[in-house]
Amino acid sequence: MGFWSTHRVRVCRSSSPFILSSPPISFSLPLSGASAISAYIDLISRDPDLRPSGGRVAAMLTKFETKSNRVKGLSFHSKRPWILASLHSGVIQLWDYRMGTLIDRFDEHDGPVRGVHFHKSQPLFVSGGDDYKIKVWNYKTHRCLFTLLGHLDYIRTVQFHDEHPWIVSASDDQTIRIWNWQSRNCISVLTGHNHYVMCASFHPKEDLIVSASLDQTIRVWDISSLRKKVSPADDILRLGQMNADLFGGVDAVVKYVLEGHDRGVNWASFHPTLPLIVSGADDRQVKLWRMNDTKAWEVDTLRGHMNNVSCVMFHAKQDIIVSNSEDKSIRIWDATKRTGIQTFRREHDRFWILAAHPEMNLLAAGHDSGMIVFKLERERPAFSVSGDALYYVKDRFLRFYEFSTQKDTQVVPIRRPGSISLNQGPRTLSFSSTENAVLICSDVDGGSYELYIVPKDTAGRGDYMQDAKKGAGVSAVFVARNRFAVLDKTSNQVIVKNLKNEIVKKCPLPIGTDSIFYAGTGNLLCRAEDKVTIFDLQQRIVLGELQIPPVKYVVWSSDMESIALLGKHAIVIANKKLVHRCTLHETIRVKSGAWDDNGVFIYTTLNHIKYCLPNGDSGIIKTLDVPIYITRVSGRTIYCLDRDGKNCVISIDSTEYIFKLSLFQKRYDHVMSMIRNSQLCGQAVIAYLQQKGFPEVALHFVKDEKTRFNLALESGNIQIAVASANVIDDKDHWYRLGVEALRQGNTSIVEYAYQRTKNFERLSFLYLVTGNKEKLSKMLKIAELKNDIMGQFHNAMYLGDIQERVKILENAGHLPLAYVTAVTHGLKEVAERFAVELGENIPSLPKGKVCSLLMPPASLICHGDWPLLKVMRGIFDNGLDIGRAGNEEEEEVTGAEWGDEELDIVEMEGMLQNADIVAELEDGVVNEDNEEGGWDLEDLELPPDADTPKAAGNVRTSLFVAPTPGMPVSQIWIQKSSLAGEHVAAGNFDTAMRLLSRQLGIKNFAPMKPLFMDLLVGSHTYMHAFATAPAISIAVEKGWSEASSPNVRAPPALVFNFSQMDEKLKAAYRATTDGNFPEALRQFLNILHTIPLIVVDSRREVDEVKELIEIAREYVLGLKMEVKRKEIKDNAVRQQELAAYFTNCKLQKIHMRFVLINAMTICYKGGNYATAANFARMLLENSPTEIQAKKARQVLQHAGDKQDANQLNYDYRNPFVVCGTTYVPIYRGQKDVSCPYCGAQCLRSTLLSYSNKIIGNRYNYQLKAGFFFIEALELAFFPLSVKFGAALAFAWNVIDQLLGAWESLLAAIFKNPVTYLGYED
C-alpha cells in the first residue's frame, strides 16, 4: 500500500469508471535508495544556493501536535482556534489547537479525504475524498448538508471562494470543477490538464484559479466571465448548457500554462498580494513564477528538497516561502534572496500538506502520523519594566514607554541580526535603571547578548547607532547596578561582567542551568530542567530551591518579596527564598503576568486575563481575543504589549479579586465597604464565601430565603434564620432551626420552632429539660384535648404527677397497670378501688424490690434561655456596625478638617498681606543671573606624588614610610576664601573675625558666637567607616552637581544662606503681626547678625541683602521703641512721642496700619487731637480695612480743629530720622553718624557723650564702610570703589549699649585715609 501513497503512480486503475482519452503520462519510478542520495549530493555540490549553513536545522515552535492516521488535508478556521484535518482513513477531525482537544469528527466519506476547507464566514466546511464525493458540512449541527457529485475520480482539493458561493475542486479525472454551494450545482468544468489535477485554488482577490497537475504543468485560469454570467437565478437555466459543453466550458479559460517542472506538479499557489505563483513538484524543486497581464514566466528555482515536494505556499506576513516534502522536511525559503533559511525535519514522517492561518501567524502541516500546528517566529516582544518605564524592542529599535504618561519613544536602534535565520530577534531584555543600560539577548550565534547604553536625553537621538558591546551567552541579566551575569552553558558557570564588558569574576553554578534570571541584587535565579534555585553570586551559596516544571519567565513583585514562576501550563508563586506558596495549573499556555499593588498576581493565558491571590485562589478577569503580554498592573489598569509590539491599556474590573483578597487578608472593614457599595453578587461569590468559611458574609448577598436560611444556620445567625424560617414556613426548616437553636441554647427559639411545627413530644421534652412545669401541664391538657394518651402519659410522667398517670392508665383501660402504679406509689385508696375492680386479676408485685418515687430531676435553670453558645458572628455584624460608625467618624473628621481650613484661612489672611513683599523678593530671585562665584580661580592640586615615598604602595616591604598627611578640606577653604562665613565654617575663627572686623568693622563678636558654632557644626558630616575604628568626617561642599569633578574642592555649604533669610524675614513679620514684639525684635536682630556670615552668589542678591538690612533696621528701630514705650508707664508724652516715631519707620503696609492706629489712639487719648488727626489721615492713605477706616474717620471727625494738648517732640512736616540711641528725631542739618552696615543713624552728640561712659560693651560693631559687601569679587576692589556717605557710625541696634572704645575706633579709622575722608563730611 505504501507504493500507492508514496508514488501516486497508478499504473493500473481498474476502478476507474471511465476511460481517459489519453493515457496518463507514464512516470519512471523515482530513484530508489542509494542512487537517489548520490544524485542528490551531486545536486547540492552543483548548486551554489544550497550552502549547508542556509538550512540550519532548528527546533520548530510547535503549538500543537496530534497523532493519527496520515493527514492529507488541513484547514484553519478564520476566527476560532480550530483546525480541520482530513485523514487517509476517511475521517475528518475538528481540533481546538489552543486547548488541544478533539472537538468533533466527521466520518461519512468512504476512503481517504484529501481536501478540506472551512468557509470564511459561514458555519460550513467542504471536503472531498477518494469516493469522488464533495461534501458540504455544517459543523454546528454536525451534519453533512449535501453531497456534490460529478467528479469521476479521486478528489484532491476543495476550496470555498471568499465571496461567491463557489467551491473549486481538483480531481484525478483531470478536471477542475466550480460548484455553487447554494444551488448545489456544478457551474463550470475546467478541462485542459491531461493528468491528475493535484490542486486548484481561487486567487484571493482576482478572478483567477491556479492549478497544478501531474502533467508537469501549472495552469492559471481566468474565471471573470463566470463571475459576470453567474447569478443564482440562471444557474438552473445554465445547467443544461453546462452539460452541453462538458469538458469544453467557455466560462473559464486557460490564461497561462506554466511549464518548467520536469515531473508532475503537486502544488501551486498564488501570492496573496503580488502577481507571483509558487509551485512544488516531484522533481523536488520549488519554482517561483511571475505573471503580468499577458504572460507568465519562471523566475527562479529553489532546490533543496530531497524528495517530491508535496505542498508549497507564500507566507502572508513575511517574505518567505514554506514548502514541505516527502523527504520528511519542511523548508523555509527567503522569497527575495531565494535561499533556504531553515529546515525542520521529522524522523519518520513524510509531509503531505500545509495550511496557513488566514489571520494569525500560524501554520499547520500534515504528515504520515498526524499533524502539527506551529509558528515560525516567536511573537513575544522582549521587554523589561523598571519603575514607571517599560523598555521593549520593536522592529529594529529599543523603545521606551512611560506608563504614567503613556508616552512612547524610540530610544536606540539595535543591530539587525546578521544571519537570515528565523528567530534571531531579541528574546529577553534586562535593564539597569541607574546606569541606563540595556542587555538584549537573542539566539544569534547560538545565544549572545548585546549591551546598549540608553542616552540620558532620549528624545531626538533615536537614529544614532551605538556600537554595542557584545558577547556570547545563552542568557544575560543585570545582577547589580553595574554588573551583569552571563550564562556560559558549556562550563555551567556565570561570568559576571561590568559595563565595560570586562569580566569581573566567574562563578560556577550549583545546578545544571539552562537559563538565568534576576533575583535581587547580587543574586541569580538559575533554571534547570526540573527546578530553580536562587544563588548568591558573592557567597556562592544557594539561598533557595524549588522543584518545579520548566520555568519560562519569572516575575518579581515590586518589593521583591514574591516571585511568580511561569511555566508553559503552570504558575508557581513563591517567596523570595523560593518557599512554595501555591501552584496554579492551566490547560492552555500561560503567557505573561505582573503583580498588582496589593500582591495579587495578574496573568494572561492565551485567551484570558486571570488573577491569583496569595492563597492560590484564582479566577478569570476577562476574556481575550488575542494573546497579550502584561507589562504592568496598576489598580484597575493593565498595561500590556500585543504581538505587534504595540502598547495597550486595558481596564479591568478588579472587584472580585480585591474582594477575595480582602477576605483572605481579613480586612473585614474593606470587605464590608465593598459589600455595601458594589454590585458584587452571583452564585459564584456566595459559593466562594461559603466554601471559604464565611457564610455570614455570604448572607449579605443572598435574597433567596432558603439559601439565606442555610447560610444563617451555618453561620449560627439565629435571628436571620428565624426570619427566613418564618417566610419559608415548612416543617423541615423549623426542625433544623430548632436543632441549631437548641445547640446554641436558645430555648425560646427552640420552643418557637417546635410550636410552629406542632411537634408536641419534643416540645414536652424541651419543657421537661428546661423545668417549665407550667407549660408541661399545658401540654398535658393539650394532649388530653387531642386524646393523645401516650402524650398525656409522657407529660404526666415528666410532671411527676402520679395521680394523673394512674388516672390516664385507668381511663385508657389499663387497669392492672393503673393498679401497679397506684400500689407502688402508695396510693392505697385508689389501689384498693382498682383491686376491687380487678378482682382476681390483681397483678402480683415483684417481691424484694424497694420502690421509690419516680420524679423528674429539677432543671438547673428554669425558664428563659440557657447560657447561649458563643457564635462566631461578631466580625461581620460588628463589621457592619463598625463600618457605619466609621462613616460617622469620617464625617466628624471631615468636619474637623473644615474647621482646620477655616483656621488656615485666618492665617492665610496674615500671609496674604505679606505676600506682596514676598512676591517682590521672589521676583528678584527669579531674575537673578547665576554668576558663579569667584571659585574657579584655581583647582586644588594635591601634593604631587613626587615628594611622597614610593615604597608606600609596596606590600610587605620591610621599610614602610607613611605618606605625609594631606591638606584637610577646611584648610583648602581657608586658603581659597576671603569670606568670613567660609572661614568660620573651616573653624578659622581668628581670620574670620579679622575679616569681619576689616570689612565691616565688627569688633565684638560675642553675640555671633552661636552663629559661628552653627556654621562650624554644619561644615562636616560624620561617617562610621570600619566598624571599630573612629569615624571619618567629611567636609560638606556647596553647589554639588553630578558633573562636579572629584578632588576639586568647592566652597563649604554654609548652614546660613540667603534663602533662609527670606524665611526668617517672614517669621519675623509674622511675629510682628501677632504683636509679639520681643520675639519679632529677636528675629530681626538675628537677621542682622546672620547676614555678615552669608555668602551670596550674585550681584542681585547683594542688592537684596542690602534691602534686607534696611528692612531689618527699620523694624528693629521701631520695635525697640515700641518695647521701650511699653516699659515706660508714667510718661504719657514720651509714650506718644515713641508711638509717633514708630510711624516714621518704613514698615510693611499691614504693620504700618497697626502702628498708625496705635499712634492715633494713643495721641487721641492723650488729647493731642491734631496729631491724632494727622495719623488718622495717614491711616486713610494706607488703604485700611473697613473697620480701621471707620475708626480713622471717627477720630478725624472728633478731632475737628482741636489743638494738641501737649507739645510733642514730633513734627511730621519736618523730615527726620530717629536716633537709634536716644530715640529722638534727627532733623536735617543736625550732626549725626550712621552705621555703615545697616545705615542706622544717631546723633553724634549723644554718641560722643556716651562714648566716654561705656566700657565693657557687649556689642561693638566697629564699622567703616557705607555698604555691606558680600561678593568676593567686590571685596577685592573694596577700598577704591566705595563711596562713603557717612563713614563712621554704629550698628544702630547696639548703640544704646554703646560701643566702648570710641577712641580706639577713631584711631583705627584714622589709619585709613580713605575712610577718614568720608568721615568728617
Binding site: T434, Q538, V969, F1012, V1017, A1027, I1034, V1036, P1046, N1047
Partner: protein, 288 residues
C-alpha cells in the same frame, strides 16, 4: 560545582554593615572549622565592642585565649578608658616577633593608633595588608590623612582581590565621599545597593544620608537620619549628622547636640565644638 560556601559570610557582612546585634545573633553556626570559629569569635567580640559592651569583652576573654582574641580584648581595654595600659601592652606584643604578625593584632594596633591619631604608627602595622579588613582600615587611615591618592591605591588592591566584597564596596564609598564631586553619586549608589541587598542598618542609612547631604539634598538626608535614629536613638554618627542636617535645613540642632554630648562626650564633633569655643574666645581676645 560551587566553591565551598563561606559560612561566615553573613556574620562578616552584618559586622561590616553595622548590624552588630544581627552579627552576634547569627554567630551560632554549626560545624564550623576551628579557624572559622576563631574568626567568628573575633567578629562577635568586635561587634560587642562596637555596641559599647567593653566590659563584657574584657570579662569573656581570658588569658588563655588565642592572640587574635587577646588583641580584641586590648581594644576593649583601650576604649574602656584604660588607654595607657592598653597601649603599653600593645607595644609589648608588637615587639614580640612571634605574634606581631598576627593579622588581628595588626588590625587592632591600627585601630588603636587611629584613635590616638598617630597615623604613621598605625600604618606601620597595617600598610602591608593581608586581609580585606586591613586594607579597608588603610583606606580609612589615608582618608583621615587626606591622602585620597593613597587611599585609591589601597582600594585598587582591594578591587583586585574581590571587587564585590562588602568591604571593597564600602571602602569605595568612603573614598568616593572623601573625594567629593561626582563621586558622591557613586557612593550613594553603593549604599543604595546595600540597602536593597541587606537589611537597613544605621551605618547604611547614615552612609546614604551623608551622601545626600553632600549632594545638598538635606530633606532626603533628614528622613534617612530619622529612620536611623529610630533604629538606634543613641548612635553617635546619627546624632551628629542630624545636628548638621538640621542646621542646613534651618532647624534647631541643639537637642541632637546635647544628646551627643551626653552619650558620646568623646565624639569628634563634641571635641571639635569644645575646641572651637576656646578658639572663639581666644580669637575674640586677640581681636579686641
Amino acid at each position: 560545582m560551587a566553591a565551598t560556601p563561606d559560612l561566615l559570610f553573613g556574620l562578616r557582612n552584618s559586622f561590616y554593615l553595622g548590624a552588630y546585634q544581627a552579627a552576634i545573633n547569627s554567630s551560632d553556626i554549626p560545624n564550623l572549622p576551628a579557624d572559622d570559629a576563631l574568626e567568628r569569635d573575633v567578629l562577635v567580640h568586635q561587634s560587642y565592642i562596637a555596641l559599647g559592651s567593653y566590659q563584657l569583652v574584657i570579662n569573656e576573654i581570658d588569658s588563655s585565649a588565642p592572640t587574635a582574641l587577646q588583641a580584641v580584648k586590648l581594644l576593649a581595654l583601650y576604649l574602656s578608658e584604660n588607654k595607657e595600659a592598653a597601649i603599653s601592652s600593645l607595644q609589648e606584643w608588637l615587639s614580640d616577633a612571634a605574634i606581631s604578625n598576627n593579622l588581628t593584632l595588626r588590625l587592632i594596633a591600627g585601630t588603636i593608633y587611629m584613635y590616638e591619631q598617630d597615623y604613621n604608627e598605625a600604618l606601620k602595622h597595617t600598610n602591608s595588608g593581608g586581609t580585606m579588613e586591613l586594607h579597608a582600615l588603610n583606606v580609612q587611615i589615608f582618608i583621615k590623612m587626606h591622602r585620597s591618592d593613597y587611599a585609591e591605591k589601597q582600594l585598587k588592591i582591594m578591587q583586585q582581590i574581590d571587587e564585590d566584597h562588602t568591604l571593597t564596596q564600602l571602602a569605595n564609598a568612603w573614598l568616593d565621599l572623601a573625594m567629593g564631586g561626582s563621586k558622591v553619586q557613586e557612593a550613594y549608589l553603593i549604599f543604595q545597593d546595600f540597602s536593597e541587598k541587606y537589611q537597613m542598618t544605621g551605618t547604611i542609612l547614615n552612609g546614604k544620608a551623608v551622601c545626600c547631604m553632600h549632594m545638598n539634598r538635606f530633606d532626603e538626608a533628614e528622613s534617612l537620619l530619622l529612620e536611623a535614629l529610630n533604629k538606634d536613638a543613641k548612635d553617635a554618627e546619627t546624632l551628629a549628622n542630624l545636628a548638621v542636617c538640621s542646621l542646613h535645613l534651618g532647624k534647631p540642632s541643639s537637642r541632637y547636640l546635647n544628646q551627643l554630648k551626653l552619650s558620646h562626650p568623646d565624639h569628634m564633633l563634641v571635641r571639635r565644638l569644645a575646641s572651637a569655643e576656646d578658639n572663639f574666645d581666644r580669637a575674640v581676645q586677640s581681636i579686641a
